[in-house]
Symmetry: D2
Subunit: 331 residues, 4 copies
Amino acid sequence: MINVGLLGAGRIAGVHATAITRHPDSALIAVSDYIPANAKKLAADFGCAARTTNDIIADPKIDAVLIATSTDTHSDLIEKSVAAGKSILCEKPVDLSLKRARLCQSNVEYAALPIMIGFNRRFDPNFKALKSALDNGEIGKPELLSITSFDPAPPPLAYVKVSGGLFRDMMIHDFDMANFIMRDFPLTIFAHASSIIEPHIGAAGDVDTAVVTLSYADGRIAVIKNSRRAVYGYDQRIELLGSEGMLQAQNMLENTVVKSNTSGVIGAKPKHFFLERYMPAYAAEWNAFVTSVNEGKEVPVSLSDGVTALAMAEAATLSAQSNYPVALKDV
Amino acid sequence: MINVGLLGAGRIAGVHATAITRHPDSALIAVSDYIPANAKKLAADFGCAARTTNDIIADPKIDAVLIATSTDTHSDLIEKSVAAGKSILCEKPVDLSLKRARLCQSNVEYAALPIMIGFNRRFDPNFKALKSALDNGEIGKPELLSITSFDPAPPPLAYVKVSGGLFRDMMIHDFDMANFIMRDFPLTIFAHASSIIEPHIGAAGDVDTAVVTLSYADGRIAVIKNSRRAVYGYDQRIELLGSEGMLQAQNMLENTVVKSNTSGVIGAKPKHFFLERYMPAYAAEWNAFVTSVNEGKEVPVSLSDGVTALAMAEAATLSAQSNYPVALKDV
Amino acid sequence: MINVGLLGAGRIAGVHATAITRHPDSALIAVSDYIPANAKKLAADFGCAARTTNDIIADPKIDAVLIATSTDTHSDLIEKSVAAGKSILCEKPVDLSLKRARLCQSNVEYAALPIMIGFNRRFDPNFKALKSALDNGEIGKPELLSITSFDPAPPPLAYVKVSGGLFRDMMIHDFDMANFIMRDFPLTIFAHASSIIEPHIGAAGDVDTAVVTLSYADGRIAVIKNSRRAVYGYDQRIELLGSEGMLQAQNMLENTVVKSNTSGVIGAKPKHFFLERYMPAYAAEWNAFVTSVNEGKEVPVSLSDGVTALAMAEAATLSAQSNYPVALKDV
Amino acid sequence: MINVGLLGAGRIAGVHATAITRHPDSALIAVSDYIPANAKKLAADFGCAARTTNDIIADPKIDAVLIATSTDTHSDLIEKSVAAGKSILCEKPVDLSLKRARLCQSNVEYAALPIMIGFNRRFDPNFKALKSALDNGEIGKPELLSITSFDPAPPPLAYVKVSGGLFRDMMIHDFDMANFIMRDFPLTIFAHASSIIEPHIGAAGDVDTAVVTLSYADGRIAVIKNSRRAVYGYDQRIELLGSEGMLQAQNMLENTVVKSNTSGVIGAKPKHFFLERYMPAYAAEWNAFVTSVNEGKEVPVSLSDGVTALAMAEAATLSAQSNYPVALKDV
């Protein structure tokens, strides 16, 4: 049984608390939040203690921490938790500062226990099935990867301002997915992006619509499309052309009902947003972490994976600003 | 080159005229109609002569006739055309009277040339592909067949009154399809039917909604569903469960465009009615007839097939009236 | 908080134990089974007590029982539990004997607390969405209902022999679904059935393939298709034609991955069987029961619903044997 | 009746000959080819004369020419045909040399009669339906366009060498489609391309896999993906995200049959290649040309459209070579 301390008590922390509680090999012991009332609320809902972050990290009876605090605290908390001998699952991104993330990586280089980054989409059953089919050689050699990732609606302006921008906040998931599928890092990144959905996003210096091309040393190509607004719901698709076929992971729909009338043949929308779509992925992610901890196995998403995805976001940000391709090694 | 006389100049005759004209091995020589102006119009459109039916049948330069006149004339015209040494493609049904159809069959028993009945759906590329997959053993032994066949809208009352009723006019296509797929005739037929769409259909003694169960000697079962109204278009589907899988022939849609919005994911409707859906089938049907004529091969849909489908319609009509199953051998 | 005793510790009891445990307003207190070791095993897994059935029913601290024992004990346990003042959720079918089920119904007629029958499919999100769309008037007046319900593989012969036959064991779900959707009971039932999948099923006096037609007083028609074997998985679909359109609830697939290669465009199979397909339905069913208990509301599936579905199964059994339609009022 | 001379007798000329012959308002009078035997063969098949190109252009009884010769002759033949007072439908691309195409455009600037370029995909019923839905405002303002265009197999090396390269030969269709849908030309074009399918394509200086990003003045973005090999068939899809929804034009499949077995749910492949997929588009294209000629209306695809698409191909070629975005105005 792994005793877990949860750092952070926001929405995503609640998702993790459910996964921790339902897993037969883990127990949620305590939760902290910079707003103590939030920690108390979550503690009451899940039958655990509300404590301070430092207290949790210092508690020798707690084996692992799940870091679901604001991004700017991730590096610090990873370092402190490593120092306290905890296993760690930290929400993405590692940091908004690539420099800080790399320093963190360097500081915890010799950590004895697992440090895993929460790229939950690797655990989505559909994307896993696509990956398995690829690894089974079902489409031969991959050649051209396309990732579509659209949110149902733009976030509030306040969020946009602290998010680090679309590439670090949103597309970072897709960068990691590309790395997961292609099993290599791109050589160069070209980003074209604009703010055409919400003028206030552009005014805040961010973009809401972006297309990014990744080039690989062996000639393979990947393209990622992001939009902050698909009114029909969370559009999360992957398409991979290979030498012997194509694999597509399509959207999960709200239900399977189809209505035919004089307007056409009408099916349900995609599941609305990440909580609906990726709930099973969060449970599978936690299970993978528990397995790594219990069996002493390498984590499936390492801190290094987290830093690489952040570097790709940095490169894309620079490319979108300069309108030139940026080599990943140059960031 | 097969010289063809077309008997009848209505809507379906125009479809056949196109097929005859476009086929490299057949030429449309003449057309007749009981309304001469209709024959003249079609003749002008297709560059052939407008003549009388008797004249066409008597013309030794005409090799084949396509009978697309009103149903009550089919048996007579088949007999006369056989007597004149013509190859024949006759629209379904053979007759509304099973007795008359059987007499016709008996009268032309020793015809030397092909007599084919126009069950066009056997030539639909989708149903043919389903049949081929079945014959290739792709789903093992067939066990349970379902045919869905809905019209977009009920016909005019005037048509209903002379149609012979839903089973002889509409479901006869599905009876033939069942025979085509199952390669056997049913032992018994149970029909339940009602008039719930249009009161005037019921008032005229006909039904507009029907479910018919066919039982086979070896335990297989088929079920046919008919409705005179599917507002979304012509619903023409087949589904066949076998020991090693299922085959479905789904609807053909008006186009492949899909719109996703806050209402859902909206695709096009099925092709509206038989002219849209089965146009390629009519061309393939004609090609099959031409091949039979030219190569002296058995026709793919015989007069006997036409009479059997009519007998099934008769049995279904009796079953719906009595609310008891009717054995096919008893009609 | 509702304290629950679980009667039975088999596979389906485990499903219910999960639902009870995860629900915030219910607690699993004790479990019993005629094989005590099974009860101990489930009790250990879910952190509750293993006790005898009588002990559980007699315990005043237990508010509700969930009856998941073998069918022949349902009527007795319902009567005993009512006498002990419990709220009840009982698995389907109420009984294999229609007479005994009606006696039970009569015996508990004045029960003060909820008695709900576990027709879980009413709580499937897809079928619920179809029902909501119908109730919202989205397809006008319903006219023709089709239910397809195929198991992935036939049950063991030992199960077949005690199951009560396909109509009472398997199609009873579909009878209830027809009642749920049509909001009326059929006048007559015509069943045609055979054993073509497994000779030993036929030898045991049961059938494995069946088509049943239900006729309604207002002219509506329903047709139910059952097969004990669809090698591609659990095929659970509903299709409802109405005056203004059609609603279909399609299968849930194992994942959304589609592979295109030289063989075609290949999607995932339907979820394999009822545990995979209906897991969310069992949770929703339990939640509905909890709501009825807590709010004193009528249960969504009454004992009367359970008895009616059993009467329909009885009528279908008689019809399949006699090859004549059977009036529901005559059983 | 428009009398038509067909210049070229290759495969695509045969497609056009069928469209010309079947159209009620056009007649195929003569055909030429640089290999006279080819012209004779086509002439025999379609019942027209085989003549020389010059003879056809000089014939005052011929109203229109359809230019389906090799690309390097297009500009010359357009100029000669204009001089001879013909209406013109010319296959794409206008030329391989942007300079020559622009000279041609300048030379025929004051042509009195229609000059149309054969971008047949604008007439595909699916893409037209997508465009109509967009123009009807069904998805609000377009924001992000994706075009997927994969051939089933790479062309022969001999063809690759004279093709002008993937951008001028293949993606030029997609450039025109982007212009058709976006109703504007892009500011800049960024192309990333490689040869990973067939080494001999790379050795010949061409690419076989490409992703191109188009940026628009108002912030909209388009991305085009090309591959010379999708083993499952001709993959021709368009996807357009707008402020109020998304439109997708999906592939047309060979048939609607779906097989479910232990391997999954298997549908038919996309129609194999352009002849299968775009046959209706060629007929609609010809009909549009006939309408323009007969009604003196502007052609739907002008010579200027053809030159612009070629300029985009030129820019993409330069971008792929330099790895920098290229402004359309700079080519």
